[in-house]
């Protein structure tokens, strides 16, 4: 491939960026607007001013200077939200220890990861990117908007829940080592060990909190003794203390129904909140408990049978759980699948018989609720962020393709523009090949 063409592709990616202000202004006109929460408009307009949805309706007028995007024949949905992935990070797991609650994905955001651009090509505007599942307690995760080309700090969604990653089952117990050998087997090597070590850390955290409480009380007292010294600050235990105080919420990677139930018991034993179980192919077996405890799930729509603990997954689990009162989101766990989340949602129409709106919720308002950003994202409503994806067909159709992705009123992906620039670059490459032509 010619250098010039390559340079243009790079150019498209890097320079085809919007002119930034504090959020953009756009009028999306004449599209089929699927708000997801407030019904659909077969032919409607959506106005974004200052990055926020100002109005949704018919025959809206564009204020002066506002770019108009013609969405005739197209479908307009809320920007897709992926509640569980590992993109845009320099590193996934801290494997040097078993409990690593002190690490924070916020410290290793990689805003130039090509996976962000790839996500945009699939209509994704927000992603919760996480520590991996190598440890029973991993680290703090972060929610990012896919603002390609912006510095890392601007991607952070400040109002999202602060989350802490837990993992159960084969991955943290390193099941593959038992089979294939290699480095010495570390503790814990069983599910009972995984639970035991989590319990031990929680107790250590409680102990830590108690020591600090006592110290603070003592220093406030009448005559604090000269010998009174504070406890040592421990970042790992502090993170767990934050969980116990309710300032962090747990996101728990689990597969089997039984290990999930046991973890619910653990969470009650110590009084911390589980927002979602991640993956949990066996969720359909315990809809009752999930519903009662108010715990959601964030799942693949139909990946299964890749490990023993995934051997009892079914494709209709997401739909079945939804119908039985569980808050479900569909995730990608990676970069390639992220751009096909709308296809995954489409599968729930067939596997489980969800309605179109129910299916779309799995990739919009549901993950928004799970991430704690439902006030500002997850559906097309006046007052919410102007995060929008535009498709050439109904997004739940297998023939759908994302045409444009908009975050807070700025266009971050425009397929028509992308194709135009690619064609230009190809023409230039041809010219350059001619003798004496081009550069």
């Amino acid at each position: 491939m010619n250098k010039t063409l390559a340079a243009f592709i790079l150019g498209i990616i890097v320079t085809a960026l919007p002119c930034f202000s504090d959020g953009g202004n756009l009028l999306v006109k004449n599209g089929t607007i699927l708000t997801v929460t407030k019904g659909s408009l077969p032919k409607g307009d959506l106005l974004i001013i200052g990055g926020v949805i100002k109005d949704i309706g018919e025959n809206l007028k564009a204020p002066e200077g506002v770019r108009v995007i013609d969405a005739s024949g197209k479908f307009v949905i809320p920007g897709i939200i992926d509640a569980h992935t590992h993109i845009a990070l320099s590193g996934t797991n801290e494997t040097g220890d078993v409990i690593t609650a002190e690490v924070n994905m916020r410290d290793v955001i990689q805003a130039e990861d090509l996976a962000i651009f790839t996500a945009l090509t699939g209509g994704v505007t927000m992603a919760h990117t996480m520590h991996g599942s190598a440890n029973p307690i991993g680290g703090r995760d972060i929610t990012l908007k896919m603002k390609w080309g912006r510095p890392a700090e601007e991607l952070i969604v400040p109002q999202a829940y602060q989350t802490l990653k837990f993992a159960l089952g084969e991955n943290p117990k390193q099941a593959s080592r038992q089979v294939f050998g290699g480095a010495p087997q570390r503790y814990p090597a069983t599910r009972m060990g995984v639970n035991a070590i989590i319990r031990a850390e929680m107790l250590a955290a409680k102990n830590y909190m108690l020591q600090w409480e006592r110290y603070l009380k003592d220093t406030k007292g009448k005559n604090p003794p000269k010998t009174l010294a504070p406890p040592r600050r421990d970042l790992r235990l502090e993170a767990l203390a934050e969980l116990l105080r309710g300032n962090l919420v747990a996101r728990v990677h689990s597969y089997r129904a039984d290990e999930s139930l046991k973890f619910i018991d653990l969470s009650k034993e110590f009084g911390f909140k589980i927002v979602c179980f991640e993956h949990i192919p066996e969720a359909f077996k315990i809809t009752r408990e999930l519903r009662t405890e108010g715990i959601g799930t964030s799942v693949f729509v139909d990946s299964w049978a890749y490990k023993v603990e995934a051997a009892e997954g079914i494709a209709s689990s997401a739909a079945y759980c939804t119908k039985n009162g569980v808050l479900v989101s569909i995730n990608s766990d990676g970069g390639e699948r992220m751009r096909r989340l709308f296809n995954d949602a489409g599968k729930t129409l067939k596997y489980g018989g969800l309605t179109e709106d129910e299916a779309l919720k799995l990739i919009s308002i549901n993950p928004a609720i799970q991430l704690g950003v439902a006030k500002t994202a997850g559906s097309l409503e006046v007052g919410k962020d102007g995060d929008v994806a535009i498709f050439n067909e109904h997004p739940l159709s297998a023939y759908a393709r994302c045409e444009m992705t908009i975050i807070e009123g700025d266009v971050y992906f425009d397929r028509a523009q992308y194709l135009k620039e690619r064609e230009e670059a190809a023409k230039q490459a041809e010219e350059a090949k001619k003798p004496g032509g081009g550069q």
Binding site: S90, E94, E153
Partner: protein, 458 residues
């Protein structure tokens, strides 16, 4: 052994070397008729520099300076005299790092997991690892570099750097300042803790917190004594405390823009005295750096870091960025009014270093800024500006005599003075016999082609 004790032993050793070995005879020199660029004062079109005992005795216009009787006169018509260039961060002369075995935590009962902490040696002295050699020194002389900071390279707390004048192969005689700063890197080892960048950040924070805690507990114990549990002695924390409490300087290597942000966050959280090194992506975070007012040691290694978009795009894009984008880093910083030094960190071939410095100038960095960034600015950042970094009477006689503007494409270095010792750049680097003097490290003037006495007409 505590750092204090080690340093004392080292200083005694150095002094002893200097005191006990016979003083090397250095002639006094008078460089006449050259153009002089002192850096901290105006250019002298035609001047004289007098060098004696390794120091600059006087500088001035021809006619204003009397040439001493005992000085060897060096005709320098057509040459320009500059202060010797300083590269404020290198890994020169470091021998292969010794095998660092991660410590196995045997103490932990079976119900605690194996956690092998990576070995950290903040008290490791670069001085103990270096083995200077003349051919490397000759190569650096040829591009005008007379002073280098050598920092250890392995580990998160890699050790203590040393500032060396490239005057020979006797390390003791080369030391200008020791130690200079603690070297910190955002690295990790696969099979120990931390094994990832996120772990390294957490580990650094925890280490600094522990140093604060340990220091304050230790002081309290020293005051109170009775009734308090005595602190457990921790040599690692002992070594870190001077940097956290007494604010001794740290150099943090930043290979990309996010590293710069990470370093600045640490600096803010613990109020550290930090210099940022590498920083070839500083151009992407100029506003942040303006606010931070932090000393920058900017490398002329223009290879885009692995995390950058250019590197992800493939070899072609990466090379293109290396040629067209990253060399503009220094000029962007200069335009923004940021104070920075230029270093050769990451590059080892002197020809490449020279080429890249010239690339930076071609990309828009004004020559005067480039010169300052290689002389007085690094001297200030490293705290040696009272004795190095410009041509002033009383300062160390490190000079470069060049055939033209120092960053000009055709310019060559004709002669170099380091600590008042003359090095003539031969057209072909010649292999000369080693003349060993008793009780000397072995390196003498004779090895460098000319026994201190220039031939007429040179």
């Amino acid at each position: 052994m505590s750092t204090l004790k080690k340093m004392s032993a080292l200083m005694f050793g150095l002094w002893a070397c200097a005191a006990l070995s016979p003083a090397e005879f250095l002639p006094a020199y008078a460089l006449v008729n050259c153009r002089i660029v002192p850096v901290t004062s105006p250019v002298i079109k035609k001047g004289i520099i007098i060098i004696r005992d390794g120091l600059i005795e006087s500088i001035g216009m021809v006619g204003n300076i009397k040439i001493p009787e005992d000085a060897e006169v060096i005709e320098a018509q057509g040459l320009t005299a500059y202060p010797g260039l300083i590269s404020a961060h290198t890994n020169l002369f470091l021998e292969a790092p010794k095998d660092q075995q991660p410590g196995f935590d045997e103490e932990r009962a079976p119900s605690r997991p194996l956690a092998e902490k990576a070995v950290q040696k903040p008290d490791l002295q670069a001085f103990e690892l270096i083995k200077p050699n003349r051919s490397t020194i000759d190569g650096y002389h040829r591009i005008g570099i007379t002073t280098v900071l050598v920092a250890p390279e392995a580990g998160i707390f890699a050790g203590q750097s040393v500032l060396l004048n490239l005057n020979g192969e006797n390390p003791g005689a080369m030391v200008v300042k020791i130690p200079v700063a603690l070297q910190v890197n955002f690295v990790s080892e696969r099979n120990s803790y931390p094994s990832s960048l996120m772990g390294t950040v957490a580990f650094l924070r925890q280490s600094f917190l522990d140093a604060q805690y340990y220091s304050s507990y230790r002081s309290q114990f020293a005051r109170v004594q009775k009734g308090m549990k005595r602190p457990e002695y921790d040599p690692f924390l002992e070594d870190i405390i001077p940097y956290v409490i007494e604010k001794k300087p740290l150099i943090i290597t930043c290979s990309n823009q996010e590293d710069i942000k990470r370093a600045l966050r640490l600096r803010e959280e613990f109020n550290l005295n930090v210099l940022l090194s590498g920083a070839n992506e500083a151009w992407r975070v100029v506003d942040l750096l303006k606010k931070a007012q932090v000393p920058l040691l900017v490398s002329v290694d223009f290879r885009p870091p692995a995390s950058s978009l250019y590197s992800q795009e493939g070899e072609q894009e990466k090379k293109k960025a290396e040629k067209d984008i990253y060399p503009a880093n220094p000029q962007v910083l200069a335009k923004a009014g940021l104070k920075f030094a230029l270093t050769s960190f990451g590059l080892t071939d002197p020809a490449a270093i020279q080429k890249n410095i010239r690339e930076a100038v071609k990309a828009g960095l004004p020559q005067e800024e480039a010169l300052k960034a290689l002389t007085i600015v690094p001297a200030q950042f490293l705290g040696v500006d009272s004795i190095l970094g410009s041509l002033e009477p009383g300062k160390i006689a490190n000079l470069v005599l060049a055939t033209g503007e120092i960053f000009g494409d055709k310019t060559e270095v004709d002669k170099v003075f380091v600590d008042g010792k003359l090095f003539v750049m031969e057209k072909k680097p010649a292999e000369k016999e080693t003349i060993k003097r008793p009780s000397d490290g072995g390196a003498t003037n004779a090895e460098f082609g000319v026994a201190g006495f220039p031939k007429p007409g040179q």
